[in-house]
């Protein structure tokens, strides 16, 4: 349960390069028929540069920084995020989490969340609170 992190320090980044196959499978498992995610012509018709990454897939990518960086001994309790910029297939989406606060007993951690594209522009910004499970 010990986290060797001090406020200001990050967890390891998680990098996702979404593919058409990934977006199709995410659409399928969530039964999301919105064509911007799997129909390139329709996405272009709506002014997008490619197949659009689902907002919840952005969030899942950001949350993987916590679940993979902290492990199962910690539970995500609260998350707040905003989609700042859409992303498309082929973008390189780097999710980052930085510890900003640790409770006195060390059992509650607060992180900033951020996901940036290959140009360093933010796609998602937010925060999360995690607690020790035991």
């Amino acid at each position: 349960m010990t986290v060797i992190l001090s406020p200001g320090e990050p967890l390891p980044d998680v990098v996702m390069v979404p593919t058409a196959l990934q977006l199709f499978r995410y659409s399928a498992v969530t039964w999301n028929a919105h064509r911007i995610h799997y129909d390139r012509e329709w996405a272009a018709h709506e002014g997008h540069e490619g197949l659009v990454v689902h907002s919840h897939l952005h969030a899942a990518n950001a949350l993987r920084v916590l679940t993979q960086g902290l492990g199962s001994e910690w539970r995500i309790c609260k998350v707040a995020y905003r989609i700042i910029r859409s992303a498309v297939v082929g973008d390189t989406l780097t999710a980052q989490a930085e510890l900003i606060e640790r409770s006195d007993d060390g059992r509650t951690l607060t992180f900033t969340l951020r996901e940036v594209n290959q140009d360093g522009a933010a796609c998602l910004e937010g925060s999360a609170i995690v607690e020790a499970r035991h």
């Binding site: 998680v14 996702m16 990934q22 499978r25 995410y26 399928a28 498992v29 969530t30 039964w31 999301n32 028929a33 919105h34 064509r35 911007i36 129909d39 329709w42 018709h45 709506e46 002014g47 659009v52 689902h54 907002s55 919840h56 897939l57 969030a59 899942a60 990518n61 949350l63 993987r64 679940t67 993979q68 492990g71 199962s72 539970r75 995500i76 309790c77 609260k78 998350v79 707040a80 995020y81 905003r82 989609i83 859409s86 937010g126 499970r133 035991h134």
Partner: protein
């Protein structure tokens, strides 16, 4: 999207319709979170933690069964069969009549994850449209709709309490 006059009318219709629904609460039975749903969701998002793939690993980690990734409940767009293709709008979404030419996207979410979601959980959703706001964006008007979803189990205990915001624009 070329006919912006019609689309602007659609946005006004969408705004008025959603405003009329503010404060209305709907309870829906969504169904059971299955093992396969968890496996597929975890694979689709690139998860590797065995608590999402291996019931034994999940139990060894102290969970009652296979664990859903944190935003699975939030991410499922349709829990049941959904509408026939002929009833969907041309962009593939479910929308009120007369607003098919709008562009709609997720804008963000606030989630309280009160309990882990375990395979076999039977889920109910209490939905409440909390606010509808019209704002001026860089490329024109945008309508923001914020909806509270309280996902609870069959015993009534709340698993997730999520506030989701979507945006609609011309």
């Amino acid at each position: 999207m070329e006919d912006t006059t019609n689309a602007t009318d659609s946005l006004a219709r969408f705004y008025d319709d959603m405003r009329s629904r503010v404060g209305q609460r709907h309870r829906r039975h969504l169904g059971v979170v299955s093992r396969v749903m968890i496996l597929r969701y975890a694979i689709a998002i690139g998860e590797t933690n065995p608590i999402h793939f291996d019931e034994g690993a999940a139990k060894a980690a102290g969970f009652a069964g296979l664990v859903a990734p944190p935003n699975l409940l939030a991410g499922i767009a349709e829990w049941n069969g959904g509408l026939a293709e002929s009833e969907l709008t041309p962009d593939g979404t479910v929308r009120m009549d007369g607003t098919a030419d709008l562009r709609v996207m997720g804008a963000g979410e606030d989630m309280e994850l009160l309990q882990s979601v375990i395979a076999g959980a039977d889920i109910y959703d209490d939905e409440l449209i909390e606010s509808v706001d019209l704002k001026q964006g860089r490329s024109g008007p945008i309508v923001f709709v914020t909806t509270l979803h309280e996902f609870s189990g069959a015993d009534g205990s709340v698993l997730n309490r999520n506030r989701r915001t979507i945006l609609a624009r011309v």
